[in-house]
Structures are given as C-alpha cells and as structure tokens.
C-alpha cells in the first residue's frame, strides 16, 4: 500500500527522491510520465501524495494534475510539483488544477520531509 507517488522521467530523480522518502519510512511508488502517473494513481487510490515533475514526455505534470481532478475524479490526493520551472503563470495553472505546493529543483529532502509526512497522514 503506497502513500506517495513520485513522477519524473529522470531515473536519477526518481531514485533520489523515492530513495530518500523510503529511507525515512515512507511507502513510495514511481512513474515515468503523466500517463504512467495517472495509471498508477488509478491502480492505488490510497496514495495520499503525488510529487511530480512538470517537463516530461507524453504527458506533462500540469496536464496530469488537471486530469487527476477531471478524469480520475480524485480530489483528495495532494499534488506537489518538483520542477525546474518557476514562472508565475505556471504556478497559476498549478493552483487552478488544485496543486498544493511547488518545489524548485534540486530536491532537498530534509527541508520538505516534515511537510510530506503531514500531507500523507
């Protein structure tokens, strides 16, 4: 039973983020793009938190966030963007899609662990 879904096309990032969270006692699954992310979320609706990149092939993270609400009808799961993008307009698009927060890469596990724990409980 997974608590967190990490979505990123980069294997390095998936390993780093999922690895850090797992070593801190959290249950994590990963996905490689927006399509895969939606499939994994559909397969395990008990996932409480999705940490996702924006720039991914096939389906980007913001489109995925929009579809989590519209196609999956999931309004409970918390979405956090982990991305190199930072523009005001993109954040607005995130907010409108119900995204909970924004992290500019690189990932600093210690800075976000407490908040992540709160978001999965």
């Amino acid at each position: 039973m997974a608590q967190i879904l990490v979505v990123d096309d980069s294997g390095t990032v998936r390993d780093e983020v999922a690895g850090f969270l797992k070593s801190n006692g959290l249950d994590v699954v990963t996905a490689v793009d927006g399509n895969d992310g939606l499939a994994k979320l559909k397969a395990d609706p008990r996932i409480r938190l999705v940490v996702t990149d924006v720039n991914m092939p096939n389906m980007d993270g913001l489109t995925m966030a929009e579809k989590v609400r519209s196609e999956l009808g999931n309004s409970k799961v918390n979405l956090i963007m982990l991305t190199t993008e930072s523009s005001a307009n993109m954040r607005e698009r995130g907010k409108a899609a119900g995204v909970k927060g924004w992290i500019v890469k690189p990932f600093k596990g210690t800075a976000v662990l407490d908040t992540f724990r709160k978001l999965v409980s």
């Binding site: 523009s87 890469k105 976000v112």
Partner: protein
C-alpha cells in the same frame, strides 16, 4: 535582433547556470571557457539538447557527452548501467532550468522542453537554424572531467535581454499554496 550586449548577457547567464548545475557538489571546481568550435567526436559522442521558448526567440542548450570512464565515474554510481546521455538529461534540465528562471525575471512568457539525445555529428549543422547567437564552451570539472556545451539562440523579432545576476536563487524549499 540581438545586441552585442544582449549576447554577452546571455553568455554570462549561461555560465552562471552551468556552474551551479553541471557539478555534483558545491565543493567541485568548475571552469568554463569559450571554445572556437564544437569539435564533435562522432565515435563516442552524443548530444543532449534542451530548448527554452518564448514568442520572439528559442534558446537551445546543447551538451556533448562522451561515454568515457572519467565522465561515468563522476556522474554515475558504479552499479549504474544506464547510458551517460540519460543521466545528462537531468543535468541539462537543471542547467536550462536555472537559465530559464533567470530569463523569466525579464520575460513573463517562457517555457522549457524536455531534453532529447541526438548523434554528436548533428552539431555541425546548427547554422541551418540561422542563429543570432552561437557559442561553444569547454567545461572542465576538478581539472579532469571535460565536457563541451553549445548555446544557440534563434530570434524572430528583436529581443532585449536585461539580466540581473544580483538576485540569489532559492531552490529546494516547498512553497505551499
């Protein structure tokens, strides 16, 4: 389309972005020098390309990566069997991201592509894109790990680049909405 000062501003911005992102730790020393030509090495090489687009321009950042023992041992864990270009996709993403964020202080409408890999020989044909700026760099990390990078900017309208290096960037913090 692009003033000489504008070109210098972009080159400096790229060097700032690269310095912070091509190294694995802040303790590593990174030297970036202008190179006269790209010197593609087709026997071992690949290109990793990534684009930042706005209405008036597209800015392509290109890393030339060669699968050498020095590069592998610097960027990949011993157990990692992946191609070197794959791990470079994230380096390119971080470097271009830093450059993108610096640009976005002057341009409200900007976005990045995902990175792609191409054969190293393709770099000889960049002139076909008719760039206003084409600069090549030699990056040396800790005196031993070498990579080449190219910056290619194509403008279809006049672009005024005012970049401000003074602002220190905050990364890694979670901003809750």
């Amino acid at each position: 389309m692009l003033s000489e000062q504008g070109k210098r501003n972009i080159e400096q911005a790229f060097q700032r972005a690269a310095r912070g992102t091509v190294v694995r730790t802040s303790a590593d020393v990174c030297d970036i020098a202008l190179a006269t030509d790209p010197q593609p090495d087709p026997r071992h090489g690949q290109l990793v390309l990534i684009t930042v687009s706005s209405f008036a321009f597209r800015l392509i950042t290109i890393f030339q990566v060669r699968d050498t023992p020095e590069i592998r041992s610097y960027y990949l864990a011993d157990t990692d069997q992946r191609g070197i270009d794959e791990s470079f996709h994230e380096v390119a993403n971080l470097c271009c991201g830093a450059l993108n964020r610096e640009f976005s202080r002057s341009f409200a409408h900007l976005a990045m592509s995902t990175p792609y890999t191409l054969d190293a020989r393709c770099i000889s044909y960049l002139a076909q894109l008719q760039p206003q700026l084409l600069s090549h760099y030699l990056i040396t990390i800790n005196g031993s790990v070498q990579l080449r990078a190219t910056l290619c900017m194509c403008c279809t309208a006049p672009v005024d680049i005012q970049l401000n290096a003074a602002e220190v960037e905050q990364t890694g913090e979670l901003e809750l909405f």
